[in-house]
């Protein structure tokens, strides 16, 4: 899936305003800055910590961890980062997604990143202090490793800019930042036992995936155990010696890569195969209810006699609310249906699919949480009316998760993230919209549910006292006395508590045996919690579960790298496999507190001031048949948060010395993306010889200087309004051919051009490997350009471009396009068509006119999933080779409509490294004003994404 971000459109378009045909515009989703953050800085010995607003307390905790970790890593790496490291903290993932430090979209699963250009570390706080520490540590390992590698290469005078393979980089960051945990264990068990595993020589197959992270981590654990911990640092210190990392591995570990691989895989099999003795896959003793897609948070609901499982899932690229008919006794596996389509409109902009975010009540309502604008929203859906009847957002809350109805369905309890970053329990009274806060501290409180009489809340929290500090246990909060008491006390993580229907028993997820399984709370004679009994013994985790009757549950289980539902009757579990573990509450010591950095608030806590540094600088000399030869430089400066950017462009395309002064081109622009409205302004001077495609046979000299202002206002992630105004003095000199006289005359044209444009853009498309597969894209533009001094130019522009993608299956679509481009008036420019990007078969840009229309219909489908050729010394592979059958039609004219052009045919597209798509089409042109096919076939090779 690809998503495009329109980040530098403003800069790119207006820096080269007079040289870039306005025809080449963009769609793309919007990265919306809903908040304008009031940034502050904490200065420590080795870091500058950037945070904002009320996030100070957590930022100080993060600063303390950062310094502690710095001291550990300098020993591990035998190296020190001497510059001050910028750490940028966001209080939630929603705010983190708004950062300008990376121009791209940040998916839900990204927990932080290290940006190489300016060495910035950017981390969201997700409500959990231990996890925050892990991510800080992970990213700082990247910082140290990158610095170490750079210094090793530079010290040896070997070309820098090289890094170890991604699996090693991420594996090292995980290995040196965190112990092996439940999630890691689950992933590796699944990979080894279900043959999803990639050896070292196959790592490219899982590049970028979470499995790659964990395989890298477990490989380094293996290296430490078998070869010695010192070998890991040695791999970094030997990095200069061999261009290939496998050679470095062989040299440092003293064995061939095949031997290392074989022995490692064998050790993993030795570790995991014995688990089959007393653990089993999810499909044992259960009925599988789903077999495709990603399925989370099952919630049973019975309305009248109909039984359903409502859940959050993703079956087609868009996360949505689904409903599955619950038929426990039937052998059929019905398909789930979409109840609320997500990720196509702003109300349901995104689902937090990995978190519990849906609940149901037998009185006929479903409550679910989505991202809506700058924060999460809790939606109430009526099953009877089949629509959302209410949506709740709260000023003080940014994120929400884990909703659960009260027994009387009048209230919903959930976990909320506030502006301090705290993750606490809240209760919403549905009728009044009143919000009540239950907890208020930096302990992570989650998965709350109401007790039997709605007078207590049971929730999971990491407030557990020592010696099990930071583990998640279950707590009970009395809504009348406000007391919080332990329900469990164990050295494991517990989550998702669920009562059975009559509230006689409480079940939950617990990772006591290494992965999440279902346990039951046990009580003593005095009805006090005494221990827990393990019911399930799955190899890989149960994520959530729901009761359908007193003893039957539907689980969401992880297996073969997918999340599917299983129906399990707890009564079928024999007593012999149930394991009891007692709690010992006497072990309790005292609550843990998170350390905070000791600083002088006067000196070390300051307001953020912008300091600009170079992002990149590039200089080059180039030549092309349209613009001639040119040499120049481009500089981009930005502040640390990349909210403000300055672009300097300078080049000269003189061909002889005497032309140098006349051919100077310079542009200076400022782009601000800090707030919701992104704007840019600047000045420019462009001068030189041009051949303009938009004219015919016109080669001219133009000197153009002026200024511009443009702004983009995103209405949502899917829609935006763009506007611009520019004023440019244009002096044009060209030779015009007098056809009847067969003579040429030198003409000078002066103009003071005022251009205004306004556009509306919509894009909720879902991308496949080579182009959009689902959704729609639309742009409407209105512009007016006028010579306000000499009246030599005066035309309006109108563009309408609509594209719709009718999904036929998971990987197939019927794509339709209808576009109309109009320039009308004095010296109106021409549009151009023809070529692989619009009317195929016709010569590229050969169809020109002041008016242009294009229409296409294209069937896109998968052709070859994987294609690999193995040569003696190397291999070459391509994946996701796609096919297309198309029909194009269109035309262009100035005053008089001449003819209609068309083509039909088929082609293949190959995505190369996600950077470019190669296209090859074969077909027939429809010629002679759409009356006959060309006699032969046309063959056209080019590059570019599908429309």
């Amino acid at each position: 899936m690809r998503k495009k971000v329109l980040k530098y459109f403003l800069l790119i378009l207006f820096i080269t305003a007079s040289q870039t045909p306005a025809q080449f515009y963009f769609f793309g989703r919007n990265k919306v800055q809903y908040e304008k953050f009031n940034w502050k800085v904490i200065k420590t010995d080795h870091f500058n910590i950037y945070y904002y607003d009320d996030f100070g307390e957590i930022a100080e905790i993060g600063a303390s961890y950062a310094e502690e970790i710095f001291d550990e890593l300098k020993i591990k790496f035998n190296h020190v980062v001497t510059r001050k490291i910028p750490l940028v903290f966001y209080n939630t993932h929603i705010h983190f997604q708004q950062t300008n430090i990376t121009p791209g979209f940040i998916p839900e699963g990204v927990g932080g990143f290290f940006e190489f250009l300016k060495g910035r570390v950017v981390i969201p706080y997700l409500g959990n202090i231990e996890q925050f520490r892990h991510v800080i540590r992970h990213e700082l390992v990247h910082v140290f490793m990158t610095s170490k590698i750079y210094n090793v290469l530079r010290d040896h005078r070997v070309q820098t800019g090289r890094l170890p393979p991604l699996w090693f980089t991420e594996g090292l960051a995980e290995y040196w930042s965190y112990e092996w945990d439940t999630q890691a264990e689950m992933i590796m068990r699944d990979a080894i036992l279900n043959d999803n595993f990639a050896t070292l020589q196959q790592m490219i197959r899982i590049r970028g995936s979470y499995l790659m992270y964990k395989e890298g981590q477990i490989f380094l654990e293996y290296v430490s155990e078998v070869y010695g911990e010192d070998k890991i640092l040695e791999l970094l210190e030997n990095f200069w010696r061999f261009p290939k990392f496998t050679e470095n591995l062989e040299y440092t570990l003293g064995e061939s890569i095949e031997d290392i691989d074989n022995k490692w895989v064998y050790s993993l099999k030795q570790r995991y195969y014995p688990l089959y003795e007393d653990k089993h896959p999810h499909f044992i003793n259960t009925k599988k209810l789903t077999d495709h897609g990603y399925n989370f948070s099952p919630q049973y609901c019975k309305v009248d006699t109909n039984e359903f499982i409502y859940f959050i899932g993703n079956h087609d690229g868009y996360s949505s609310v689904y409903r599955l008919p619950y038929q426990a006794d039937s052998k059929e596996m019905p398909d789930p249906e979409i109840v609320v389509r997500g990720e196509k409109e702003k109300l349901f902009e995104a689902f937090h699919i990995m978190k519990p975010s849906i609940t149901t009540t037998d009185s006929g309502y479903v409550a679910f949480i989505t991202k809506y604008g700058g924060s999460d929203a809790l939606h109430l859906f009526s099953i009877e009316k089949n629509e959302v009847i209410n949506s709740f957002q709260f000023d003080q809350l940014i994120g929400m998760s884990g909703p659960s109805f009260s027994n009387d369905a009048a209230k919903i309890v959930f976990s909320g993230n506030d502006k301090k970053g705290f993750s606490d329990i809240f209760i919403l009274t549905i009728a009044t919209g009143e919000l009540k806060r239950i907890t208020n501290d930096y302990y992570d409180d989650k998965n709350p549910i109401f007790g039997k009489d709605d007078d207590e809340i049971i929730f999971a929290s990491d407030r557990t006292e020592k010696p099990f500090e930071r583990k998640y246990n279950l707590f009970k909060h009395d809504l009348e006395t406000f007391e919080i008491n332990y329900l469990t006390f164990t050295d494991a993580n517990i989550s998702t508590p669920q009562f059975n229907p009559d509230y006689s028993e409480l079940y939950f997820n617990c990772d006591y045996d290494g992965t999440n399984n279902i346990w039951k709370l046990e009580y003593d004679e005095e009805n006090k919690p005494s221990g827990m009994t393990q019911y399930t013994h799955y190899l890989t985790s149960v994520f959530n579960f729901t009761f359908t009757d007193q003893t039957t549950i539907v689980t969401s289980g992880f297996e073969k790298f997918s999340f599917q539902f299983y129906n399990l009757d707890l009564e079928t579990i024999p007593d012999s496999v149930k394991k009891y573990t007692a709690f010992d509450f006497d072990l309790m010591e005292n609550y843990w507190t998170a350390p905070k950095i000791e600083i002088d608030p006067q000196l070390d806590k300051v307001e953020y001031e912008k300091e600009y540094t170079l992002d990149y600088a590039v200089s080059q000399v180039s030549t092309d048949p349209i613009y001639g030869a040119r040499g120049g430089a481009l500089f981009l400066l930005s502040d640390l948060l990349s909210d403000d950017k300055y672009l300097f462009l300078l080049y000269n395309n003189a061909e002889v010395q005497s032309e140098i002064l006349d051919n100077f081109n310079v542009a200076i622009s400022k782009l601000n993306t800090a707030g919701r409205t992104n704007f840019a302004y600047g000045v420019f001077h462009f001068s030189g010889r041009r051949y303009d495609l938009r004219e015919s046979d016109e080669f001219f000299f133009e000197r153009s200087y002026g200024g511009y202002f443009s702004a983009i206002y995103p209405l949502s992630i899917f829609q935006r309004i763009e506007t611009s105004i520019s004023l440019a003095n244009s002096d044009k000199q060209f030779f015009a051919v007098e056809n009847d006289e067969q003579t040429t005359d030198f003409i000078a044209r002066k103009a003071l051009l005022l251009s205004n444009t306004v556009s509306f853009v919509h894009d909720n498309s879902l991308w496949g490997p080579t182009g959009p597969l689902d959704g729609s894209r639309f742009r409407a533009l209105l512009a007016y350009t006028s010579d306000i001094k000499f009246s030599n130019v005066n035309y309006y522009s109108f563009i309408l471009d609509y594209r719709h993608y009718f999904r036929l299956s998971l990987r197939s679509t019927l794509a339709a396009r209808l576009s109309l481009y109009v320039n009308d008036g004095k010296e109106a420019r021409r549009y151009f068509g023809g070529g692989s990007w619009d009317i195929r078969g016709w010569r590229r840009w050969s169809i020109r006119g002041q008016k242009l229309w294009v229409s296409s219909l294209e069937l896109r489908f998968p052709l070859i999933d994987q294609f690999y050729i193995r040569f003696p010394f190397f291999g070459l592979g391509f994946t996701s080779i796609r096919g297309a059958l198309f029909f194009d039609a269109g035309s262009a004219w100035d005053k008089q409509y001449r003819q209609t052009y068309g083509s039909i045919g088929g082609g293949i597209r190959i995505n190369f490294l996600n950077a470019i798509t190669f296209r090859y089409d074969v077909g027939k042109k429809i010629e002679n004003n759409f009356q006959e096919f060309q006699p032969k076939l046309f063959y056209q090779f080019f590059f570019g994404w599908d429309f």
Partner: protein, 347 residues
């Protein structure tokens, strides 16, 4: 050679004084590992990780010549007569090469291939050049550069060895102290005292001193490798301890500097510099001169451990400083060498 003598001695028995003046700066093309510079007459010899060996005039700091190789020269050369012996870890190869080069004639008189890396400092005796590779092979070359014998010690070695009399001693990555008799060409003993040793050994009066990866500093008996005392510094030690008549000084990667009583290992003082100590310091009778990877040089009062003064530098300090003819020489990353002249003291 590195540490002046085969026992590795970094002590200068006179006072440094209070005043230093920068005499000159020069640079090489590559950077350094934690090795040192070598001096003979008026010439300073340096080796860098870009594979070059340089000669500099010590008065002016101007280059007097260089030899280029494809790889890295990570340990200090040794000199005798007009011969310079150095080891190149070859680029894109799994072996190293030891060269014997006559810098008067400009000829190579001998060279040998050595399997694996050679990051352990050379030792020169009256009639031999000794090298132990990281694969644990001990090589004995005569002064003509011919290999006399080699011995597989069955160890992996990333430790600066030391020599006392006929006994060649080193630590291994498996934490063993190994002693080899040169005359008998055999291992006398292997005594495991630690989990991993990657620093260097210094020897005095029948006792050896070495730090390990866990941060322990050991004093052991040369005769049998048995530990006499140990001290926990708390963090990994990669440099060699230095000592005077009574006390011993060592730093660790956490930036902590310790002074211990040589006899029993009791701590005299601790200074938590906050930096990172991975280079062997230079000891005077009044000051410990300790380079810090965090771009500093500490001048530490050996009586109380306080940092009397500091020089802040542009680069990470890499080389173990060397005193020669009234000048202290330091080396940083990016290949820079600084020469500071002593204006005070009783040199």
């Amino acid at each position: 050679m590195f540490g002046k003598t085969p026992e590795r001695n970094f002590y200068n028995d006179f006072t440094l004084g209070d005043s230093l003046k920068l005499k000159w700066e020069t640079d090489t093309k590559g950077s350094y590992k934690n090795t040192s510079l070598i001096f003979l007459d008026e010439i300073m010899f340096a080796s860098d990780l870009a594979g070059r060996v340089y000669a500099f005039n010590i008065e002016s700091g101007k280059g007097a010549g260089e030899e280029k190789n494809k790889g890295a020269v990570s340990i200090a050369p040794v000199l005798y007569n007009s011969i310079i012996v150095y080891v190149v870890e070859e680029f894109k190869e799994k072996y190293s090469t030891i060269y014997f080069y006559d810098y008067y004639t400009g000829d190579y008189i001998n060279e040998h291939i050595i399997n694996g890396s050679c990051g352990n400092e050379l030792i020169k005796t009256d009639d031999a050049i000794l090298l132990i590779s990281e694969n644990g092979i001990l090589y004995n070359y005569n002064l003509s550069g011919n290999e006399r014998w080699k011995l597989d010690t069955q160890s992996k070695v990333r430790c600066v060895p030391a020599l006392t009399g006929d006994t060649f001693i080193f630590g291994s990555v498996t934490g063993e102290i190994t002693a080899v008799s040169l005359s008998r060409q055999k291992v006398i003993y292997k005594n495991k005292i630690s989990d991993r040793i990657q620093s260097g050994i210094t020897i005095e009066n029948g006792r050896g001193y070495v730090g390990d990866d866990a941060g322990y500093l050991y004093c052991f008996d040369i005769a049998d490798g048995e530990v006499i005392w140990s001290f926990d510094t708390g963090a990994k030690i990669v440099s060699i301890p230095v000592m005077n008549d009574e006390d011993l000084f060592v730093g660790n990667l956490s930036g902590d500097l310790f002074s211990l009583d040589k006899k029993n290992g009791e701590m005299n003082w601790l200074n938590e510099t906050g930096g990172i100590i991975n280079t062997t310091p230079l000891l005077f009778s009044d000051y410990l001169v300790q380079p810090d990877l965090f771009k500093k040089i500490h001048f530490v009062d050996i009586e109380n451990g306080e940092i009397d003064r500091q020089i802040e530098t542009d680069g990470r300090m890499k080389l173990s400083p060397v005193y020669f003819n009234g000048v202290i020489y330091f080396g940083m990353d990016k290949g820079e060498i600084l020469a500071y002249e002593l204006l005070g003291g009783d040199k």
